[in-house]
Amino acid sequence: MSAPTKGSGMTWVGRSIRRVEDPALLRGRGRFTADFKAAHRVRFVRSPVAAGRIEKIVIPDGATVITASDLNGVKPIAPALHKFGYVQVEQPILANGVVRFVGEPVAAVVAASEAQAEDVADLVAVEIAETAAIADARTAFALGARPVHAAAPRNIAVEAKVETPGFAAAQQGAARQVAVEIRSRRQNAAPLEGRAGLAAYDAVSGRVTLTCATQMPHLMRTAIADLLGMPESDLRVVAPDVGGGFGQKMSLVAEYVVLVWLARKLQSSVAWTEDRRENLIAAFHGRDQYLRLQGSFDGVGKLVALSAEVTANVGAYSCYPTTCAVEPLMAMAEFPGPYDVRAYSCIARGVLTNTCPMAPYRGVSRPSITLALERLMDIAAAEFSLEPLEIRRRNLIEKFPYTSATGLKFDEGSYRQTLDMAVGALDVPAFRRRQREARGQGRYLGLGLATFSERTGYGTPAFAARGMGVTPGWETVELSMDPSGFVELRIGASPHGQGLRTTLAQIVADEIGVPPERIKVVHGDTDRTPYGWGTFASRSLVIGGGASLLAARKVRAKLQRIAGRLLEAAADDIVIEDGVARIAGTDRALAIEELARASYHQAHLFKGDIDPGISETATYDPAGTFSNACHAAIVEVDCETGRVGIERFIVAEDAGRLVNPMIVDGQIVGGVAQGIGNALLEEIIYDETGNILTATLADFLTPTSREMPPVEILHMETSSPETVTGSKGLGEGGAIGAPAAVLNAINDALSPFGVSINEIPATPQRIRAALRSVGERRP
């Protein structure tokens, strides 16, 4: 990696250099929470029923078992939101008298080994007087439904409404009304590593170190210290290698609170490693929404008004810090997506049920709203006898900056261009011919498009609009160079697979003239990094990267000043490149490490002018930027079995300036895989009593390499004027676009039968049911 930097006109940014993370991970030398030793192992006893009163917990003689009654003084998890009729509900750290979902932790068993803990947990008898449970959101907010929490009598945790002035007139004056109802079933993010925590007490300092699989170590520290009433300075949170999160690991985990409490109580170390069944039933879920959408079009297929109703099942509790409003509020703010529509109305509610609590999951509502909107566009296209491509061309935003009906400001994008790019890769007329011929042979091919915007890298103003008690957004970094010229970048972001140790080093390298291998990125340790919000919401490259760039510019300026003094030239005349500081236009230069050494060891040379040492801090809090993309899928539906095969999958993506295209492509492919899972396979199923039927990976079906098509990726790079790097986030886009592209393709394939599939996953069973309902006949 000792290629030249600026002098050759070449930059580190934009190059697919190998990830510095990979050598350890690929050799099995990663260090995950479960790899570390602890004196005690914990097993949680969980509620086997969805709703009821705990009448008795019988603990075997001699066993160490903690229940709610031991946790006197420990506060419940009760995140706040100050708007939208939000009802604050409380989640006790261990179920306190009442259970509200299958899998809720009721007791914690402490033993010397996992085997013993599991054996003891088997013997803990929890007697529960079962009450009727509600698993479905529509049932839960029907009149007379039993409340999951007394505080929310109709089970409505949050209800937000928006209507633009003159909406009704715009809607009524439209030439054509098109409606669609969408059901997006429940998923589990299914990270490779489940949740895991290890809390270790240090007798010398009295501090506890919580090593855990988290996306936001600093916030875990604050939240756990708050709930336990302990000094925050006595808690250190470390995120070691973390095996994927996708949002599931960004919320406060009640079990981690128990671990820290136990470590302090026992003055020892205690660890818990979730098994896959626990993850599937009791780690956070995502999706599970009903969406109703009505589009009002003028005579030529231009959308003039849009009205939406979103009903999101939020489960039994509200997650910290985003609260359970995160899904409905995201849906309300972003439903119009990439289309120019000025009249908009939406009601979005979050409904409490006796199911596993929801947390953000890659895409947060946008997979479902994109699905609804893109289905609407295809249905409208059919009514106007337009190609799906054409109706989108007539509605996509084109002029930037664009301010949406909900007040979102869209920076420069390429909505039409990425659509044309994806479609260009397909050759639609040739496909339509092939499709007709195939139908003659009883084979059903379909083409589906999804165009969408992805708001990323948003700072405090965007989060503040939600009225959250905790308002994330900014990131701070500390960048220092040691006397030998090696660089350390300490960040509050907390990557867990995103490759930030590589990409941030690329950004910094271009500024300060040292190659990336001399730049170590430190993250995931609250003792070693500045307070920050962690990694989620497609934010870290934009915000953490922006802060890194700003800090690197400060270091660069300092290096220029030091070099100027030593070379007796003006700082402005110093060029930093290829490991040296040079007087522009001359061959008089000093190596960067000579500057570093002088800064620390020859500080007297700069006395009164330049402070000793090289260490800078920078904070970045951008307004946010919109990535955009078009996904296109070609599928074949086996009408006799209902199986869907994906023949081609194309992504035309614009995420601004790409720092490492290889990492970008990895993000896209991973997101598409989860989106395909969402569209075809993955479904957490509860029965009517709130019992979960998908508690193993033999029942909750993620796509495997055999189900994944090759993903063809095309890039545009419209630099964002809203970010200092010109980059936009893209962590979620793959998951946002894929469900809509696949479902539109399925509907296109089935169009000869006159059936519509508006529910995902579009399982073979659902497709067959739809075909049976029309007697299998092509009208």
Partner: protein, 299 residues
């Protein structure tokens, strides 16, 4: 990523299953003696363990004793004895990746084996273990029933032979006594001119079958003779569908007659229902897999 003071611990001990006693007999005599002793005390035979061990990890199966037959001498025997292929208790699924017998029997077993779960499972799981476990979605149970295998059970009381058609008694249920070990399966070799077709529908590659069909017949003067249509994954246990076989007899193979047989098979079954397939969908699948299995006989 950051190193901290914690010590690495990569020695994982036994964790998930409930406690059990482990027995490792070396001979069939020892095995059946232990089975006689421990089966009444909730003892189970461990062969490949690909079904039992995961169930133990979930603690849904909690045998007090495991009698591990993997070390029993002679149980890895896979051989042709006259007109029969003998498959002993510890023969793995992977033994069928390549034809284990000449002619259509070996080809059929290879075609079926490729559908069993995933490669690592096929390296460990056993043919006879699948039969004894009697999962409705087991490919080998369907194969045994369709090919009229004979199953040899042994116990301290002696040996007996059970026809596959009488072996399966319901979902996960068999005619084996609790003290009996399924010693071997004897699969009659198909005539050299037999044609076969197998088709399985599962949600993903390697998943449990939601429905599958195995079809076999011969041609006599261009007409179908001795047809067999076995259906698995759709009912509590696999079985041959005599009504569907009957319509094929004496007919020239072709799409129309296959469609008729498939429709009869779909009507004849009493479908299981679960989250992935209700009764109507299972009938749809039985129709499709039967037709496709029959079509594959023409390849």
């Amino acid at each position: 990523m950051n190193g901290n003071a914690l010590e690495l611990d990569r020695t994982y001990g036994p964790v998930k299953p409930a406690a059990f006693a482990y027995h490792a007999p070396r001979t069939v005599e020892e095995a059946v003696a232990q089975l006689a002793e421990f089966a009444p005390l909730d003892g189970r035979v461990l062969a490949g363990g690909q079904s039992l061990v995961p169930m133990m990890a979930f603690r849904m199966a909690r045998p007090a004793h495991l009698i591990d037959i993997n070390g029993v001498e002679g149980l890895d025997r896979l051989a042709i004895d006259g007109h029969v292929l003998t498959i002993s208790a510890c023969v793995r699924h992977a033994a069928f990746h390549h034809p284990a017998a000449p002619g259509p029997t070996g080809a059929l077993l290879s075609a079926v084996a490729a559908n069993i779960a995933h490669y690592p499972i096929r390296m460990r799981g056993t043919f006879c273990g699948s039969l004894a476990n009697a999962d409705p979605a087991s490919e080998w149970c369907l194969t045994a029933v369709t090919l009229d295998a004979e199953l040899v059970a042994v116990s301290q009381r002696g040996r007996r032979t059970i026809a596959a058609a009488n072996f399966f008694t319901g979902m996960m249920g068999t005619a084996l006594g609790e003290d009996e070990l399924l010693l071997e399966a004897r699969v009659p070799l198909l005539p050299a001119d037999a044609r076969f077709g197998f088709y399985e529908f599962s949600r993903r590659a390697g998943d449990y079958a939601l429905a599958m069909a195995l079809t076999v017949y011969r041609l006599e003067g261009g007409a179908i003779a001795e047809p067999r249509i076995g259906i698995g994954g759709a009912e509590g246990h696999p079985r041959r569908i005599a009504q569907a076989e009957a319509v094929l007899v004496g007919k020239k193979p072709g799409e129309e007659i296959f469609r008729a047989a498939a429709a009869i098979a779909a009507e004849a079954i009493e479908p299981m229902e679960d989250a992935h397939a209700d009764a109507a969908f299972r009938r749809d699948l039985v129709r499709a897999v039967t037709q496709r299995a029959l079509e594959r006989t023409l390849r």
